[in-house]
């Protein structure tokens, strides 16, 4: 009869599975540490972070095993184009709800490798509850007040815009941002989707905005450029923005969701594609990522509805920002990708209730579309900051006259660029 596994053995197995919750191994007796190491190797779960944990214990036996096995600190890239270091990524979360426990726990396996920036909605009165085991910085209203003088500025970090403060504070190359009412979704095989990894893949592989590839992203596994795709365009351009999608509650506006209250997005479309140059799209802030070095200043809080609310369908701030971002990317010859990854968006809010509110701004958004489709920037605009400055000037001149809300948006954009430069010069 076989002996049942010992309690110790079960504990070690459990540790292997839950490594993302472990931040320190120094207390573990050496013989158990060795066993843990061996089982981690056998399970194929040894990665950079876990290796560092073992090395940090300083225990001789472990170090000599690592040496004898010739384990080296090399990250094997998924695609042979770029190697991403964990410390190049910031995950920025705008907290509109006070208890982030279930959100953070759900994302722990994907987030725990990276540095997080959590920004608390300045309107939120309750204390934030955030579980331990993450490498994070928390920003609240008092931090915002130190950087932005609220008495003289019209820039607001209220509600969904709180995350922009996180973008301002970040110094990392890649930023990923997900709404706090979304959890990891499952793909068509039933496996949990690592949205962070997919966004990073999107941002670090070329985009193809100048000609449409009918097999979608040619840099994905198992696909390529099709017959008839010009060879001179096959190296692509850098990707500035990665726009993910949502299962369950899709990002519909209030009228649409109110008309179809039970409509849920259940279609998993297994594709990433580049949105062609000069084509506008509705950028949803729910699940996005961007190259902070290339387009950072473009993701800004500028256009607010008079009665903007705490549900996505009561805002258009990301839509405005998205159109600016697309114009900037088109001008700087950067790509914008859309498609994977999906996140699962949880039920929240009542569309019909939201419909009852009066929105001055939604009608206004119709007016801006022709503007964004036709705005052209000068040759002199070679950075994202330059581009934003020019767009702001055009907004003020062309749209600002018809409505003060646009004039204010233009002012916010100009002020944001000043802030951006100021914060970085410190």
């Amino acid at each position: 009869m076989r002996n049942p596994p010992t309690l110790l053995s079960l504990a070690i197995d459990s540790a292997v599975i839950n490594f993302c919750r472990i931040s320190d191994l120094s207390f573990v007796p050496e013989h158990i540490l060795l066993e843990l190491f061996v089982r981690t190797l056998k399970a194929g779960k040894l990665n950079e972070k876990i290796l560092k944990l073992f090395i940090a214990t300083g225990k001789e036996e472990i170090l000599s095993v690592i040496e004898s096995l010739n384990i080296q600190h090399i990250l094997v890239p998924v695609l042979p184009t770029l190697i991403i270091k964990d410390d190049e990524v910031d995950i920025v979360i705008g907290a509109l709800q006070s208890d982030l426990t279930s959100f953070m726990e759900a994302w722990r396996p994907m987030f725990s490798r990276f540095h997080l920036i959590i920004v608390k909605d300045p309107d939120l009165k309750e204390e934030l509850k955030v579980p331990g085991g993450f490498n994070l910085n928390l920003y609240t209203k008092s931090d915002m007040d130190k950087v932005v003088d609220s008495s003289s500025s019209t820039i607001s970090f209220s509600g969904y815009s709180c995350r922009y403060f996180g973008y301002l504070m970040s110094r990392k190359k890649y930023i990923i941002s997900i709404d706090d009412d979304c959890i990891p979704a499952k793909d068509s095989k039933g496996e949990l989707i690592d949205a962070v990894a997919q966004h990073i893949t999107n941002l670090t592989t070329p985009a193809t905005p100048f000609f449409f590839n009918t097999l979608y992203d040619p840099f994905s596994e198992g696909t390529d450029f099709v017959r008839g795709y010009p060879f001179s365009l096959r190296s692509g351009v850098e990707c500035g923005l990665s726009c993910g999608l949502w299962l369950n509650l899709a990002d519909y506006d209030a009228p649409t969701q109110a008309l179809k209250p039970s409509a849920r997005n259940s279609r998993y479309v297994d594709a990433v594609l580049t949105v062609p140059a000069r084509t506008m799209l509705p950028l949803s802030g729910i699940n996005i990522a961007f190259n902070n070095e290339l387009v950072g200043p473009t993701l800004l809080p500028a256009f607010r509805l008079a009665k903007e609310g705490k549900f996505r369908w009561e805002t258009v701030e990301d839509i405005w920002t998205g159109m600016c971002a697309k114009v900037v990317c088109d001008h700087l010859r950067l790509g914008v990708k859309s498609g994977l990854p999906y996140v699962w968006r949880q039920e929240r809010g009542n569309a019909v209730e939201s419909l009852k509110k009066e929105w001055e701004g939604v009608q206004l958004m119709e007016e801006v579309v022709p503007f964004f489709q036709s705005v052209r920037l000068s040759e002199a605009a070679v950075t994202a900051e330059d581009c934003i400055a020019e767009i702001a000037a055009s907004v003020k001149e062309q749209l600002g006259r018809s409505n003060p809300m646009f004039a204010r948006a233009a002012e916010n954009m100009v002020e944001w660029i000043k802030l951006w430069k100021q914060v970085r010069s410190l």
Partner: protein, 368 residues
């Protein structure tokens, strides 16, 4: 999903023709029988006209070989390619229906991820009968599909969409790669089923593949000229590309939509990459000049019909691409010939005699 009590007639049964170019045989039709049998077929037989191509029993069809093409078009037959699937556009010319679906004879019924057989024709019809959205990208793809809609931020003024002129389908198994890619990746198979239909935005060109294609003949028919390819021509395997670039420029100009994505068919035959390389060779070079040409073409406001647009395009081809190679001057002339032939065969007075011609000839035309 509820099923109707009485069987519903296949959609657009009397308004759609299926055009199939072939040089070998039509055995593949057996697999498509459940989906194609209600529809009328136009077979364009390429190559040796003395060869008899058997059409499986039970299909309603008309068949044209090279002799028929010469007889019907007379001197204008010079614009129809020989020894290349580009000859399929002759089928578009003689069709009397509103919609065309064209498919290659090495394309079979594919299965979706649930294992269900895909009725490609039905999906194309759905694509064509629902509007397109070329002016603003919808991140949830075709908003007119079941289970999808316009997302937040999509301008309300654009939500009606525009009529769809073209539905471009895709292929599982052997992907439509060019010769260099085929040589480098001979074993790559397309196994990814992307469950989306989307509108290709205005101002964006794409590589249109003729293997699995449907279009509204009334909206865009005259633009679907597949050029001079094959025998006696310096280039091959760019017929559908040429038609696609011309078509997209014209649909953009006229405010019509082009969709791509579903349906998938199963592409079974991988052609010889070395043979392909010889055919495509010039195209690979020329395409670097052709693309900027199409990307910068603007058609004058006065071009309000497809024929006017196409004629104008032919002038521009002669002027701008002519200098690259005399082939383009020939092609520009052929484009004009094509429009002449189109107008001749498709003016109201001409429709009856052309149909009668097809039946008189030795090629049989069976009625069900």
């Amino acid at each position: 999903m509820s099923k109707p009590a009485t069987p519903v007639a296949p959609p657009l049964k009397d308004e759609l023709d299926i055009v199939i170019p072939t040089i070998r045989n039509l055995d593949f039709l057996e697999m498509w029988r459940p989906f194609f049998q209600p529809y009328h077929l136009i077979i364009v037989q390429d190559g040796d006209p003395t060869k008899t191509i058997k059409v499986p029993e039970g299909f309603d069809y008309e068949l044209y070989n090279r002799n028929d093409i010469n007889r019907i078009l007379g001197p204008k037959a010079s614009c129809i390619s020989f020894k290349d699937s580009a000859c399929r556009c002759f089928g578009f010319l003689v069709s009397k229906k509103k919609y065309i679906f064209t498919i290659d004879d090495d394309c079979f019924v594919a299965k979706d991820p649930t294992g269900k057989e895909i009725n490609a024709l039905q999906q194309h019809i759905q694509n064509l009968l629902t509007p397109s959205t070329p002016f603003f990208f919808n991140t949830l793809y075709d908003p007119f599909r079941d289970g999808a809609d316009f997302v937040r931020g999509y301008p309300f003024s654009m939500r009606e969409g525009v009529p769809t002129a073209v539905s471009h389908g895709l292929w599982l198994n052997i992907p439509d790669y060019d010769a260099p890619t085929q040589l480098v990746k001979p074993l790559e198979r397309n196994t990814r089923y992307v469950d989306a239909v989307l509108t290709i935005p205005k101002g964006t060109l794409f590589p249109m593949c003729g293997m699995n294609l449907a279009f509204d003949r009334e909206l865009i028919g005259p633009a679907m000229y597949f050029g001079l390819m094959g025998d006696g021509q310096p280039i091959g395997r760019y017929d559908d590309m040429w038609a696609g670039w011309c078509t997209k420029v014209i649909t953009d100009h006229l405010g019509l939509g082009v969709k791509t994505g579903l349906p998938y068919i199963w592409h079974s035959k991988a052609s010889n990459p070395f043979v392909n390389l010889k055919k495509e060779y010039k195209g690979i070079y020329w395409q670097e000049d052709i693309i900027p040409f199409f990307q910068s073409v603007t058609l004058p406001k006065e071009c309000t019909t497809v024929q006017k647009c196409y004629t104008e395009l032919s002038k521009l081809v002669k002027e701008k691409l002519g200098p690259i190679d005399p082939y383009f001057q020939k092609l520009a002339d052929a484009m004009v010939t094509w429009i002449d032939a189109w107008d001749e065969l498709n003016s109201p007075a001409q429709s009856a005699p052309a149909a009668a011609d097809a039946k008189k000839d030795g090629s049989s035309s069976k009625k069900k």
